[in-house]
């Protein structure tokens, strides 16, 4: 049976207030459709003949269908057959949840995701053992790698057709489970959970550093922007190693908590949004081992998941955060492409020989 790949493309990521409070970019719908056509062409080149795609009303599908029709009018057929998931479109995150469940039940071999960290989180919440191939079309994306989508499509195609062995093709990823009042898990985060003092969701994005209180990250990367950058500039933690990092934050200039001075507090300047270097008060930080529940000190505020305020909590709510190793799988694009090169998977027959030999 030939593998089928799922496609979840969010038409509305990268539309928030960071285009005003920072200098974040906007990726236009036509650009998203072009990205998808590049991915589809790469998948087809690897032998993937069918994809299952989330329907949406944001315009991506229409532009993709136009691109497919144009190719066919030229007598070309470089794309897999596109089957939309049969489901109602609500224009909310529930569409992503529903489409991912349907893809999993349909037995797709992988799901290519176009979106920000939030879109990837929504897919990861429902995909089970199906691996994700992430493409960044959001704002502060830390989870999906920033690379040419054609390569992501190629790697996914090589992985799902079995030309790259699974132990190379796929990698495990960490996540943080957020339990609220004993519900396990109430929410998940792929990169970071930030607890902030403001108790309203508002425009969702995080940029008022004076309200940052606690930060929990699955990986701490000094090469990304956003909340993970704060941790990454203190003590890098890779995606591949076990556990994460917990950082206690305070309004810049107030690095000691009200209960008493805590030596070692400092001010960190971190890129918390595109082009936005902000002073962040850091009280202290520590490793967050996998499987160990952390109970926040913050009594009331808002939980931000992967950089966006999602839900408020009060002193009556009991919060617990637990990092899980190997919680879901992704396509290891670097590993796939290196394996493809080393084994000449994309060359013809006979396989060429280096002139150095």
């Amino acid at each position: 049976m030939t593998p089928v790949v799922g496609i979840v493309a969010n038409p509305v990521s990268a539309r928030d207030i960071r285009r005003v409070v920072a200098n974040a970019a906007n990726l236009q719908v036509t650009d998203r459709a072009n990205i998808l056509l590049r991915v589809l062409a790469a998948l087809r080149a690897c032998g993937v003949a069918e994809v299952l795609m989330m329907p949406e009303k944001g315009g991506i599908r229409g532009h993709v269908e136009r691109g497919v029709a144009r190719a066919r009018a030229h007598g070309e057929d470089p794309y897999p057959a596109i089957h939309p998931v049969a489901m109602p479109v609500t224009g909310t995150v529930e569409d992503t949840h529903r489409a991912t469940r349907a893809m999993r039940q349909a037995g797709v071999s992988a799901i290519v995701v176009l979106g920000g960290d939030g879109t990837h989180r929504a897919v990861a919440a429902q995909c089970g053992a199906v691996p994700i191939a992430g493409i960044s079309t959001g704002t502060n994306n830390a989870f999906p790698d920033h690379r040419e989508p054609t390569i992501t499509g190629l790697a996914t195609g090589l992985a799902v057709t079995g030309r790259v062995p699974p132990h190379i093709a796929f990698a495990g990823n960490k996540r943080i489970d957020v339990a609220i009042n004993g519900e396990t898990p109430s929410e998940i985060a792929l990169v970071d959970v930030a607890l902030v003092a403001e108790r309203y969701i508002g425009a969702r994005a995080l940029w008022r550093t004076e309200n940052f209180r606690e930060l929990y990250v699955t990986f701490a990367d000094p090469e990304v922007i956003g909340m993970s950058a704060i941790a990454g500039l203190l003590e890098p933690v890779t995606r591949g190693e076990s556990g994460g990092l917990m950082v206690r934050l305070s309004p810049a200039g107030q690095t000691s908590p009200p209960s008493g001075p805590r030596p070692g507090g400092t001010i960190l300047r971190a890129p918390i949004a595109p082009g936005m270097m902000a002073a962040v008060g850091v009280t202290d930080w520590r490793r967050m081992p996998a499987g160990v529940p952390f109970v926040p000190e913050v009594e009331a505020g808002t939980i931000a998941l992967d950089g966006e305020r999602e839900l408020s909590f009060t002193a009556r709510d009991r919060l617990s955060l637990t990092l899980r190793d190997d919680a879901f799988r992704t396509v290891n694009v670097s590993g796939c492409m290196r394996h493809a090169a080393e084994n000449r998977l994309l060359t013809g027959t006979p396989v060429p020989v280096s002139a150095d030999l």
Binding site: P11, V12, R15, D16, I17, R19, V20, V21, N26, Q28, V29, T30, K57, G58, G59, G62, A197, E198, R199, Y200, I201, G202, A203, R204, A300, G301, S312, T314
Partner: protein
């Protein structure tokens, strides 16, 4: 009462609730009175969309200008136009904001910076560019806000105004009130680039989308965008995704909407209910305080209707007064 966790003071939260409740009560009353045949002309109701006008207008002062639409009652009330004068205007009485000659789609009050509702779709955008140019030339830090629906956003006037505002770096905010329907045509059938943010990007200005039923989301985003314009940062576009509780106009049979759609929206996305529940749940405002406002607003609207009905119609001799401006 506990510590206030919101970005507005308790007084401002009460003011926001009172404004939204006033718009809702005003529109619900018009819905009833129009059906009875008491009101001349057409009315287009803003019920369900109150968070947008209120969240934006709380950042403005009387020196700031707004240019409204055919669905302008909410904009007027949020900008501070007198409710009695509005009701009298809609009833066509001489005590109205425009002495009874404008009706629902032409209510204006320049003393409040309200340049007028407008029956011509997309006509507010070029007007606000003029007002914003004046503010820029005067250097008084004034900003201009224009509202446009998802349908009128396809009008040439609107698109030309985006260009003009960007070229002249005007302090304008273009607010797209996207309630999903251009009269009866769903947005995805009629908007070429599928995204208003993309449209703004094409004209060289930032665009932002927010949940227009969430007062706090609108208030926070609008605050940043308006501050940017006031500080000389230039124009921007704000898309508010919102819901319309009534038809395009009163009398619209709404055959283009799914059965139960409006009822579901009233149950799940009523911006007024959401604001009230949030401030009560946070312990900042007691339910009784909101109920007291509800009572005061109901009395205000009742009195406005009573006064409007009791007021005289314009006299025949007034036909040519206040129609043209002499320069």
């Amino acid at each position: 009462m506990t510590e206030n966790p919101f970005p507005l003071s308790k007084d401002d939260l009460l003011r926001a609730y009172r404004t939204m409740r006033t718009i809702r009560e005003f529109e619900e009353r018009l819905h009833v009175d129009f059906a009875k045949g008491d009101i001349p002309g057409f009315v287009h109701l803003y019920a369900g969309e109150e968070a947008c006008a209120t969240g934006i207008m709380m950042h403005l002062n009387d020196n700031d200008r707004i240019a409204s639409t055919h669905r302008g009652h909410g904009h007027c009330i949020a900008k501070g136009v007198d409710v009695h004068a509005m009701m009298a205007e809609i009833y066509g009485r001489s005590t109205g904001a425009c002495r009874g000659k404008g009706g629902s789609m032409h209510i204006a009050d320049l003393s409040k910076g309200m340049m007028g509702a407008n029956g011509i779709l997309g006509a507010g955008a070029p007007l606000i560019c003029g007002a914003a140019l004046a503010a820029k030339v005067r250097g008084d830090r004034g900003v201009g806000i224009t509202f446009v629906g998802d349908g009128a956003s396809n009008q040439g006037t609107f698109l030309e105004s985006l260009n003009l505002a960007a070229v002249w770096n005007l302090p304008v905010v273009f607010v797209v009130e996207n309630n999903g329907y251009a009269e009866s045509t769903a947005m995805e059938w009629a908007v070429s680039c599928d995204s208003y943010v993309d449209r703004a990007t094409g004209f060289g200005m930032p665009g932002v989308t927010v949940d227009g039923t969430d007062f706090f989301a609108v208030h926070e985003a609008a605050g940043e965008i308006i501050r940017r314009a006031r500080e000389g940062g230039g124009p921007a576009l704000l898309e508010c995704n919102m819901v319309r509780f009534y038809g395009h106009f009163e009398g619209d049979a709404q055959t283009y909407r799914a059965k139960g759609e409006v009822e579901a929206l009233r149950a799940s996305r009523d911006c007024l209910v959401m604001l009230g529940e949030r401030v009560i749940e946070a312990g900042v405002i007691a339910r009784a305080e909101l109920q007291a406002i509800d009572g005061e607003v109901a009395a205000l609207i009742e009195d406005a209707v009573r006064a409007a009905k009791a007021a005289p119609l314009p006299a025949a001799g007034d036909l040519l007064t206040d129609v043209y401006v002499a320069y």
